[in-house]
């Protein structure tokens, strides 16, 4: 089992024939992901990586039955691409693109919610169900199949966390990189109950960072609704206030959004909080061996 995607998930790629889209779609195909086509306006009717190319998402969905779209279009066009996917009946859009305008994402997400389309990202590594389906840019080889669910705002910390978990002899059910932008799609409180309900998942790793209050929301949610053990790391304990740390959303404004307050809230909610990302794997081993 897994959450959101598995070996049967049919995926199209928006921005299929571009440099990034091509490179990563090829990697995903090699991993075993069922990429059934792609969309590049103006190139409809052609073939790319052995799959059909369409001018619009609506055509692609009608012809292929795809339910998920992996979005690689350039930042200026991401808002439009996500609106199009939602309008065409896509169920989940995984938005990899970095640098899209906040206002565009705000509008696109509001419309997606209205249309019942889930979104992941933007500015994220994507989602992977180990050894079944990879929709994103993560190195597939480090995600061994297992019983740990992973949710992370950071791409490289997703890899770091998954790698440690696997080195301890465990593995991953599904790992979701939710992205570090100010407005993102699925977040902790939507993903945690999915892992809670997934019979394969035994424990959850949650990686957050400074800025915003999603981790605080997660803490109260976990306290009320999550029975499975959760191990958490919050990046940016040593980050200065008022400075943006790489991710657009990773900023402590005034005294809100610090790592300390998030760690405290999570600890109070019974989460196993580690102070260094180097301790994620060991903590999982400790928690599951109890």
């Amino acid at each position: 089992m897994s959450i959101l995607i598995n070996k049967n998930t049919k995926v199209i790629v928006q921005g299929f024939t571009g440099k990034e889209g091509s490179f990563h779609a090829e990697q995903c195909l090699a991993y075993g992901t069922k990429i059934v086509g792609g969309v590049t306006p103006g190139k409809g009717g052609s073939e790319h990586l052995g799959q059909p190319v369409f001018n619009t998402v609506r055509e692609a969905v009608a012809a292929t039955g795809a339910t998920v779209s992996m979005v690689f279009v350039p930042p200026a066009f991401v808002g439009d691409a996500v609106l199009e996917a939602a309008d065409a009946g896509i169920e989940l859009a995984v938005i990899i693109t970095e640098g899209s305008p906040v206002r565009d994402m705000q509008r696109a997400k509001a419309y997606a919610v209205k249309k019942g389309m889930k979104t992941i990202g933007p500015n994220c590594p994507g989602i992977i169900t180990a050894e079944e389906c990879k929709i994103g840019i993560m190195p597939g080889s480090i995600f061994k199949k297992g019983n740990i669910g992973l949710i992370s705002k950071s791409g490289t910390l997703t890899y770091e966390g998954a790698n440690q978990v696997c080195n301890e002899g465990f593995g991953i059910t599904t790992a979701v990189g939710i992205g570090g932008d100010p407005i993102i799609g699925l977040s902790y409180i939507q993903l945690l109950p999915m892992f809670e309900a997934d019979p394969e998942t035994e424990a959850i790793v949650m990686i957050g960072e400074i800025g915003g209050d999603l981790e605080i929301q997660a803490a109260s949610f976990i306290k009320e609704h999550i029975k499975k053990p959760v191990v958490a790391f919050i990046a940016g304990q040593s980050a200065p206030k008022g400075k943006r740390m790489g991710h657009a959303g990773a900023i402590v404004s005034g005294s809100a959004g610090t790592a300390a307050e998030k760690m405290e809230a999570l600890t109070k909610a019974g989460v196993h909080v580690v102070k260094s990302p180097a301790e994620i794997g060991k903590k999982i081993a400790e928690v599951l061996k109890k």
């Binding site: 509008r107 791409g155 991710h247 102070k275």
Partner: protein, 389 residues
């Protein structure tokens, strides 16, 4: 990106958000000329820096004669202004804004920011104008009225009423306040602003509302569609090293410690800093080499880290995904040819092509390079080197 008060007020004027008249001056002569142009008998001389709290720091002063304008401009131009937002080093004042005096009956606060939890802009208003809004929020949050605006419907009259009645405005003031707030919301949305703050928003004795101050920040990802705002960028307000780094696709923030860090990905970069702290050291910087790192960007990364004389060791921590480790290894070799890396470099490469990378570094046989097996090992070694062990 942030802009100056005088620039924010230029934008306000375009949207009919009332502000006092004023002109920016880069020297004392201009300051006096501007005061003459404005006329009247009372002027405000305001330091223009990208930080709040200028008044308390002595950067905003009232002049009652042209001579006084001259004296104050002399005093403020070239001063290093220290406020709660500049840090102890302060900021050099290179321009002043000369503004006509306003007749003030009351001082309010009005701001718009993105509410990340509700995923929509929220307008904040308070009667506690002129105070630090963070302090008001901390001590008496009930004094701040917050109204979220769903962009699908935009700013409506009822939003304005919620704000106006929340502030307890007089009946005859309400319609002009709503007009003001509506215009400000338009400024916010049409310019892809990240935040607008008017503190204080002044109510004149005649019952009109005027933006006595103006602070604006913009979403960097949206600047490509606002060339007029991009043109307002004041590079002298930005950290020159951070600016240089961003030109190479590197995201750099200087910190106070002595262990330099070069990492791929913002989250891992923060996590690396945290690990260095956790094992008893102090990071010298945040540096994300990004998703397309190559020999040139890695070399640049070393150069930028080494500009900081406090750096005693450098921890290169790469988890290869899109960034392949062999590419980073080659970058390190290249960098040691281009830049004099005179401190020990601790390298931890994991993920895509990590084995090839290890071979490259082994064959390179450069002294000063120490390999680490994982994140924790690397942090411990880097901290030990920085301590001279």
């Amino acid at each position: 990106m942030n802009i100056h008060e005088y620039q924010a007020k230029e934008i306000f004027k375009r949207y009919n958000v009332p502000t006092p008249n004023g002109y920016v001056a880069f020297n004392v002569e201009e300051a006096v000329e501007n005061a003459k142009k404005l006329g009247g008998s009372i002027w405000v001389v305001k330091a223009q820096i990208h930080a709040g709290g200028r008044g308390l720091g002595g950067g905003v002063k009232l002049a009652r004669s042209l001579d006084e304008v001259k004296t104050l401009a002399q005093e403020i131009l070239g001063m290093t202004l220290v406020t709660h937002q500049t840090g102890p080093a302060g900021k050099l004042v290179q321009k002043v804004y000369i503004e006509e005096g306003a007749d003030i009956a009351d001082e309010l606060y009005l701001g718009i920011v993105l509410d990340r939890a509700r995923e929509m802009p929220v307008i904040m208003a308070s009667r506690e104008g002129g105070m630090e809004i963070e302090k008001v929020a901390a001590t008496s949050p009930e004094k701040i009225i917050k109204v979220a605006v769903d962009p699908f419907i935009g700013f409506q009259a009822f939003h304005g009423r919620e704000l106006a009645y929340g502030l307890g405005l007089e009946k005859e003031e309400i319609s002009s306040f709503i007009k003001f707030a509506a215009a400000l919301y338009k400024v916010y949305m049409e310019n892809d602003a990240e935040m607008i703050e008017i503190n204080p928003l002044v109510k004149t004795k005649g019952g009109a509302f005027i933006a006595l101050d103006g602070k604006m920040g913009f979403d960097d990802n949206s600047l490509f569609r606002h060339p007029d705002i991009e043109a307002m960028r004041d590079e002298s307000e930005e950290n020159p090293i951070e600016r240089e780094a961003s030109g190479y696709g590197l995201s750099y923030v200087k910190l106070d410690g002595n262990v330099g860090c070069m990492v791929n990905g913002a989250g891992l970069a923060m996590g690396t800093m945290d690990t260095i702290n956790h094992v008893g050291g102090t990071p010298a910087n945040f540096l994300d080499v990004g998703g397309s790192a190559n020999a040139q960007t890695v070399a640049k990364g070393f150069e930028i880290i080494l500009k900081d004389p406090n750096v005693k060791s450098i921890f290169v921590n790469i988890f290869g995904g899109i960034v392949r480790c062999d590419r980073i290894a080659n970058g390190i070799l290249e960098a040691t040819r281009l830049v004099d890396v005179h401190v020990p470099v601790i390298v931890r490469l994991d993920g895509t092509n990590a084995k090839e990378a290890a071979e490259i570094l082994k064959n390179a046989n450069i002294k000063n390079i120490i390999t680490a097996s994982d994140l924790n090992d690397g942090a411990i070694k880097a901290v030990a080197c920085a301590k001279g062990n």
